[in-house]
């Protein structure tokens, strides 16, 4: 019968309409600022630099300014300047440190390649996504003070991976 296909389709939409009122699996909307969805553990957004302690973030930064991430970064959004002098790192070994470590997050494409190539586990992916700002030039150029976050923060994000990294660095 002509038109039966249309009626069949309308029955499907009617079923979906009524279903959306009593099936909790169909409440797909989250009222964002008040309610929040849980981010998956692997979610990645922008990189941050790992420091051993929160109190002296600049002094205990793991980064030794080897510039591998700067070279490998596909959109070239990292800028590093090495220090002239050396400072003792967490293990007491004298290391070069980054005088300047800038990431332009308006260029960064969250690909995680800097994290994968870093031999010192000094750069990891953050899950902070509410970084909107009215100042689109300086506000989105993250310097090393803004990028540095303590190791305890990394433990909160990825407990298993952080424990494994700590064990590897201690060895």
């Amino acid at each position: 019968m002509l038109g039966s296909g249309i009626l069949q389709g309308l029955a499907v939409t009617a079923r979906n309409l009524t279903g959306s009122f009593h099936d909790p699996a169909r409440y797909t909307t989250t009222e964002y600022p008040e309610q929040r969805t849980v981010l998956p553990p692997n979610y990645r957004n922008f990189p941050f630099l790992v420091s051993e302690s929160a109190a002296d973030a600049m002094g205990t930064m793991r980064c030794v300014a080897c510039q591998i991430c700067e070279k490998e970064c596909p959109p070239q959004c990292i800028y590093i300047e090495k220090s002239k002098d050396k400072k003792p790192d967490a293990a007491g070994k004298m290391q070069i440190y980054p005088l300047i470590f800038d990431i332009d997050v308006s260029v960064c494409m969250s690909c995680q390649i800097c994290v994968e190539v870093c031999p010192f586990d000094a750069i990891k992916m953050d899950q902070e996504f509410e970084i909107a700002t009215a100042d689109r030039f300086q506000g989105l150029l993250f310097d090393r003070e803004k990028l540095a976050k303590p190791n305890s923060y990394f433990h909160q994000l990825h407990p298993a991976e952080a424990a494994e990294v700590d064990a590897r660095l201690a060895a």
Partner: protein, 390 residues
Amino acid sequence: MIEVPTDPFGLAPGPRVRPVHDEFHGDLLEVSMGPHHPSTHGVFRMIVTLDGETIVKLKPVFGYLHRNHEKLGENATYLASMPYTDRLDYLCSMTNNWAYALAVEKLTGQAVPERAEYLRVILAELTRLLNHSCLAGFLLQDCGCSGTPLMYAFREREKILDLFEALSGSRMMCNYQRFGGCRVDPTPDWLEAAKRLVDGYGRFLDEFEELLTGNEILMARTQGVGRMPAALAISAGITGPMLRAAGVAYDLRKVDGYGIYPRFNFRVPLGAQGDTYDRYMIRILEMRESIPILQQALRELPAGPILDSKAKLRGLRPKAGEAYGRIEGPKGEIGFYLISDGGPNPYRYRVRAPSFVNLTILEDLCLGHTVADAVIILGSIDIVLGEVDR
């Protein structure tokens, strides 16, 4: 003088076009559709010449989204091009990653562990489900069916994107494959969720087909529209569901048997008419064939490493030579052609983008049809401008 594609003796079958030999004496009208027209799926422009409402000439203009992908690839290391391939066809980043990884693995002779091969098949078939659902939704949107099928398709797509996000950390820009394996090992919870999704997908397809396949309006709009003869499809280099809708049995999963596809038993659906309805239907049937592949792969997924022990992440310097890696992407044959001169960057990096090649016959499909038909023909070709313009 413009050329009017009609035969002087009126012998050829098909829609008639009034022979007009001079653009000032006929009432031809040149209309520029796009690049901001919402029906062109992005920034694509067609200059259509109309006789009344019939298309007598169509000139596609692309390049508005050109961002130098291939030249960037020549100036970046092998690894640095991997996240850029996500941005080619942003619906199918997993298959783009796989094709690029395959090309580099051919170049370097890198082996891939068994578990990674299975994961690649799982993710590629999930991408096929995602892409074909989206296409069916968008095609109906182009027909003027505002919202309903598209939202049903997006509801299912959202579930697949959640899986991708849980695995790779990003919904669409997955950056998941590596040369010699994959990046992240899925947890047992993830595999359980994937199994649940795959087992429930058939129900969604049943509902979707109940809504659309028998719908008289859809049939009237799409049957006999944009008919593509098999000979034209072959000579124009069309691949993927477009080619199979014209009745040509050519699927790289069967022809090349790359990866571990020979272990899977699946059928390749073929169209008979090669019209827009066939191109819609072939996608639904391909999704139905993807479900058993996924179920088998999830069942047989072996334990083991996901990255080969000899795989190098950075500092890759393949020996001088060339390689072409191609897979059956959801849109057609996606291939990467690489020439190495022994340096850290490829000497030549070329992308064979399926939707770019498929788009080249747009004029042949649209001639003699109306503007509204051109919109749904374009919708059935399944283009993503990120890949067309590169």
